[in-house]
């Protein structure tokens, strides 16, 4: 820890990186420097990786043998699929209703929950495999970051705080913002790394206008859902923020404009209600 960091230096971090769901998953456990919990920690981190691989085998739209592909082909009924499909199906129905159809796993004509699976799976394994570690005295915090979307937990009596950097979508080697989280989820959706892969179900065309949207919520399924929805709603439609129940968020437009909010309250920075991130070039990639 460098000077100025309020966190005590006597923490040890265990990190495991797995390639799952087409991205890199970083599993972090923070313990006391002299922790004796190593074995439990290592075992739990191993289970996180194994369970995420299992979710990928069942839910991947790219594996012909996955339950999702078999359901899409008509080879498998929802009721006969892996039990996790029923849970994900419920999450999807709920998400579609609450976003007023902006998030719609059925827009292509079949059930494709890819937009929700990763966040849901990470949230679930953190809750079920890593959260129990916090009952061990030496363990301060646990977290999983799957390709930029993360679920973080900190023991109630620990001084640990997760410091999270938000990548500048117009220059991924730099950070546009940072925030501090004890427990919660952060998801960022954007077009920077994979191009126009988010489709507006209302038009069938690519969502555009926002370079990246970051949402902070209690659960990663929620943060992920609303980060994606924000991309589709666009920079000027912020109505969803009032009812979404997210904790905070940040939108960065392709032209460098910035909007932030906290709870249901938008943070106004000037008369026009827009913030402008000074360093970003104008119309960088409109």
């Amino acid at each position: 820890m460098s000077a100025g960091d309020p966190r005590p230096a006597d923490f040890r971090r265990s990190v495991k990186v797995e390639q799952i769901m087409g991205t890199a998953v970083s599993i972090h456990v923070i313990t006391a420097a002299e922790s004796v919990a190593g074995e439990s920690v290592a075992a739990a981190m191993g289970r996180v990786g194994a369970r995420l691989h299992q979710v990928d085998r069942v839910c991947s739209p790219f594996l012909e043998s996955s339950d999702i592909c078999r359901i899409a082909r008509g080879d498998l009924g929802l009721a006969d699929a892996d039990p996790m499909i029923a849970e994900i199906h419920r999450e999807c129905l709920d998400a579609r209703a609450r976003t007023g159809g902006l998030f719609d796993p059925w827009w292509k004509g079949w059930f494709d929950p890819t937009g929700i699976v990763k966040g849901w799976a990470v949230e679930r394994v953190v809750e079920q495999e890593l959260a129990p570690l916090l009952e061990i005295r030496d363990v301060a915090a646990v977290g999983v970051n799957a390709g930029g979307d993360m679920q973080l937990l900190t023991a109630e009596d620990s001084p640990w705080v997760w410091e999270v950097g938000i990548v500048d979508p117009n220059d991924p080697r730099q950070m546009a913002a940072r925030l501090s989280v004890t427990s919660g989820a952060i998801a960022t959706s954007g077009i920077a790394e994979r191009g126009d892969h988010i489709i507006d179900p209302r038009t069938g065309g690519a969502a555009h206008g926002i370079a990246s949207s970051t949402v902070v919520a209690d659960r990663l399924t929620e943060a992920d859902l609303w980060a994606t929805t924000a991309m589709i709603a666009g920079f000027d439609d912020l109505d969803w923020i009032a009812t979404a129940g997210t904790r905070a968020g940040l939108l960065i437009a392709s032209d460098g404009r910035v909007r932030r909010w906290s709870g249901g309250t938008r943070i106004l920075a000037d008369g026009a209600g827009l913030e402008r991130f000074g360093r970003l070039p104008q119309a960088a990639s409109a």
């Binding site: 937990l153 950097g165 990246s212 906290s262």
Partner: protein, 160 residues
């Protein structure tokens, strides 16, 4: 039991207002934030003129090498519903209390301001190797992209 522990954690420990704490400390300790040096990875240069004073305060410089005991009041920040000002107490170098001392209204959603962090804008090149950043959030990176990503650098730096 485990489920209960998880639920209570999620409920009790919200996103903390450390982003504002730092700005508060900075404005309390330095009368001219814009003149501080840019040597610390956490230090941000002063915001450009098209950002309002409230936001400038948030991205003000922080060059102190540790927290100094005392009570500090942050600069008032305007929101749509009114001003928010935060007060913190530092004891033994650790923040022990934080409260919003100016509150917008009795509107229930404004209550969330007390427990919600506002992403703090940075206007400088922030080193990915900075030990002060634990995790990186950005548009989903592919496995290949990850090799060059900030998180990769962090994972290496942190595991030395």
């Amino acid at each position: 039991m485990k489920r209960i522990a998880y639920a209570s954690l999620a409920a009790l420990s919200g996103v903390v207002l450390l982003v504002s704490y730092r700005a508060s400390i900075s404005s309390a300790l330095s009368s001219s934030p814009g003149t501080a040096t840019a040597s610390s990875p956490q230090t941000t240069s002063s915001a450009s003129g098209n950002v309002d004073p409230g936001v400038s305060a948030e991205s003000a410089t922080t060059s102190c090498s540790g927290l100094v005991d005392g009570t500090y009041q942050g600069q008032s920040v305007s929101t749509r519903y009114g001003d928010v000002q935060v007060q913190i107490v530092v004891e033994n170098g650790t923040i022990t209390a934080a409260d919003a001392i100016t509150y917008p209204s009795e509107n229930s959603r404004d209550q969330q301001i007390n427990s919600d962090a506002i992403p703090k804008l940075t206007s400088e090149t922030l080193s990915a190797q900075s030990a002060q950043i634990d995790m990186i959030s950005g548009a989903t990176y592919t496995s290949r992209g990850y090799l060059e990503s900030l998180q990769s650098a962090l994972d290496q730096a942190q595991c030395g």
